[in-house]
């Protein structure tokens, strides 16, 4: 990414985005107080949200839902419809942002050609009634009992692999609500976030998994790894260029866990993927054969269809191949700003550890997305001069989530990657504290083996 591209990214407001975000904020405020006690102003906010999708196929249903809910007649169907309207608005915001980013970068993106299957799973339906209860009560009214009311339903979801997305989402939301209860006593509520999670879950209760649309072969050049984690889930998502096609792809593996397993220990949960983790730790390319690819650009990773390839320096790949690589389409349901995670490469900047400066343009680092499972630190960002990262947008701002940096440490140019510890920490200090903490994965698996099968 060049200074001129960074300037182009920030050049002028995006038409309609502020207005859409205001409408969403009105909906989120109604959800804070609960749909059972809307009052005139908040009813108007729901009507306005419905009005904004008036020209779409969702329009008539959304208008009816807003009217009925305003009149105190609240059904799950109406709530899901409004969740859909909020999602559609954020979808438009997402499209405007991604368009701007793509044109600033000169990146070409494939058109969506997949299909989004529907689902009517009764296990998911059980969670929909909890989501409705939350909306009727409002976040401010949530107490420990309501926050925990779906625990059993979520356990049932977790047991069903094809419902894993909804299960991990709801488990994360429920944990936040439990820990925050009674929420009425909280000074500040994460209104946007919880409304996002609520709306996303509402729609996921009705949608099925995407199906692979093609099988691909070739050489993967990893760019970096993004790490996601909450108390009971961890996911690593590798961004890579597939050669010789020159396509940007992602591949992920996710595992369930418990809160006492975190930081560098999450890699151990994924030890059944030695080829993938080995490529990260040793900076290797990967040869893949007939790997299923989802229409959104996600490879469904199968160790049996992959093998380690020759060394591949992510910085070389990013420097040479990234700017010409083509990007995948975004699945309709995933069109939300939080899902924007576009790989970019920036070099020759000056950094104070918080913000980088390049040719008069500036970009903040996303320090909230700097995991403890890897060696990147704010100090390294400060000493860095080149970065492979993901462009993120939240709260009205673009930020750069670092996946790897080149930094001057003691007069030496070091390359440091998020995935460096994929097969165990390489830093002596971390190794020592790692050893001191014992091995939580092994301890808990031993306990599970002994106690669960009685």
């Amino acid at each position: 990414m060049l200074g001129t591209q960074l300037t182009a990214l920030h050049d002028g407001a995006l038409p309609g985005v502020d207005e859409a975000v205001d409408l969403i904020a009105g909906f989120d405020d109604a959800l804070v107080n609960g749909f059972a006690r809307l009052g005139e102003e908040r009813t108007a906010a729901l009507v306005a949200l419905a009005g904004a999708v008036g020209g779409t196929p969702l329009g008539p249903a959304a208008a009816e839902a807003a009217e009925k809910i305003g009149a105190g007649s609240i059904s799950e169907e109406h709530l899901t419809t409004l969740a859909g309207a909020r999602t559609a608005l954020f979808g438009a915001v997402h499209d405007a942002l991604l368009d701007r980013l793509d044109s600033a970068l000169g990146r070409t993106r494939a058109a969506w050609e997949g299909a989004q299957p529907q689902s009517t799973d009764p296990l998911a339906g059980a969670c929909r009634s909890w989501l409705a209860e939350l909306a009727i009560t409002g976040w401010r009214g949530v107490d420990h009992d309501l926050a925990s009311a779906a625990d059993q339903a979520i356990q049932n979801l977790l047991a069903e692999p094809r419902l894993r997305r909804l299960a991990m989402l709801l488990d994360g939301l429920a944990a936040e609500l439990r820990a925050s209860s009674p929420i009425g006593a909280m000074a500040r509520l994460p209104a946007r976030r919880w409304a996002d999670l609520w709306a996303r879950a509402s729609l996921l209760t009705k949608t099925g998994s995407l199906e692979a649309t093609e099988r691909v072969s070739g050489r993967l050049l990893p760019l970096g790894v993004d790490i996601h984690e909450h108390g009971t889930a961890a996911q690593i998502q590798i961004h890579a260029i597939l050669e010789p096609q020159g396509r940007l792809v992602r591949t992920s593996v996710a595992a369930a866990k418990v809160d006492t397993i975190s930081g560098p220990f999450v890699w151990q949960l994924l030890s059944s993927y030695p080829v993938l983790l080995g490529a990260l730790a040793k900076r290797l390319s990967l040869e893949i054969t007939d790997m299923p690819l989802l229409p959104g650009g996600d490879l469904l990773w199968q160790e049996g269809k992959a093998s380690s390839g020759p060394s591949s320096d992510p910085f070389a790949a990013a420097r040479v191949q990234l700017s010409g690589a083509s990007a995948p389409a975004v699945p309709p349901l995933e069109r939300h700003p939080v899902r924007i995670a576009e790989p970019v490469f920036i070099e020759g900047y000056r950094s104070d550890g918080h913000t980088l400066q390049l040719d008069g343009a500036s970009l903040a680092f996303d320090l909230d997305r700097l995991p403890t499972s890897g060696p990147l630190t704010p100090q390294l960002l400060k000493a860095s001069t080149a970065c492979i990262g993901l462009m993120r947008w939240d709260g009205g701002q673009w930020r750069l989530q670092p996946l790897a940096v080149q930094a001057n440490v003691k007069k030496e140019l070091l390359a440091v990657h998020n995935g460096d510890w994929a097969q165990g920490p390489t830093d002596q200090k971390v190794l020592k504290s790692y050893a001191k903490a014992g091995d939580p994965v092994a301890v808990l698996k031993e306990r599970a083996g002994r106690l669960l099968r009685k």
Partner: protein, 163 residues
């Protein structure tokens, strides 16, 4: 561009929970603040097959300790046993003193002083409920992993250093 950090109300990625601090799990594999209690499971020092279920009620500070088969703990003679001490010590490591003290509504500047200020007495608390929550906790590690992309986890960045 405004350089100010946006308010937490407007952030999709707002951080709600602090990461739990790493601790050794061998002695106390499970601690939680739930159902109005600080409760957990403490491994027996002598028998690898046995665990103790220890709990302290928030507010009233009644406490109990028994084996997972509901046999009363021999160490519980009018005063908290060593398992309850371990429970509080590990809870303070995992969640921090302030959070534990606030939840229990107890004063103290260390795990030991929390224990000294524990004013309640032995009270009947069903071990089976806590134990089954521990088993459910362990069952997470038995769930199969997946290579289906969980797009929803973009809302949950790995909990790193607080900026």
């Amino acid at each position: 561009m405004n350089a100010e950090r946006p308010a937490c109300e407007q952030l999709s990625g707002a951080r709600v929970l602090s990461p739990v601090q790493p601790r050794k799990l061998a002695k106390v594999p499970f601690v939680e603040m739930a159902e109005g209690r600080l409760q957990g499971v403490v491994s027996s020092g002598s028998d690898i097959e046995r665990v103790y279920v220890s709990s302290i009620i928030a507010g009233t500070h009644g406490y109990n300790c028994s084996t997972n088969n509901n046999r009363p703990c021999g160490g519980l003679r009018g005063a908290p046993c060593k398992h309850l001490w371990s429970l509080v010590e590990e809870a303070v490591l995992q969640y921090g003193l302030e959070r534990v003290a606030r939840y229990l509504r107890l004063e103290g500047d260390s795990a030991a002083s929390l224990m000294h200020n524990l004013s309640g007495g032995p009270e009947s608390i069903p071990a089976a409920v806590v134990f089954s929550r521990f088993l459910r906790h362990l069952a997470y590690l038995e769930l199969p992993d997946t290579s289906e992309p969980i797009a929803e986890l973009h809302w949950f960045p790995s909990l790193g250093a607080v900026s």
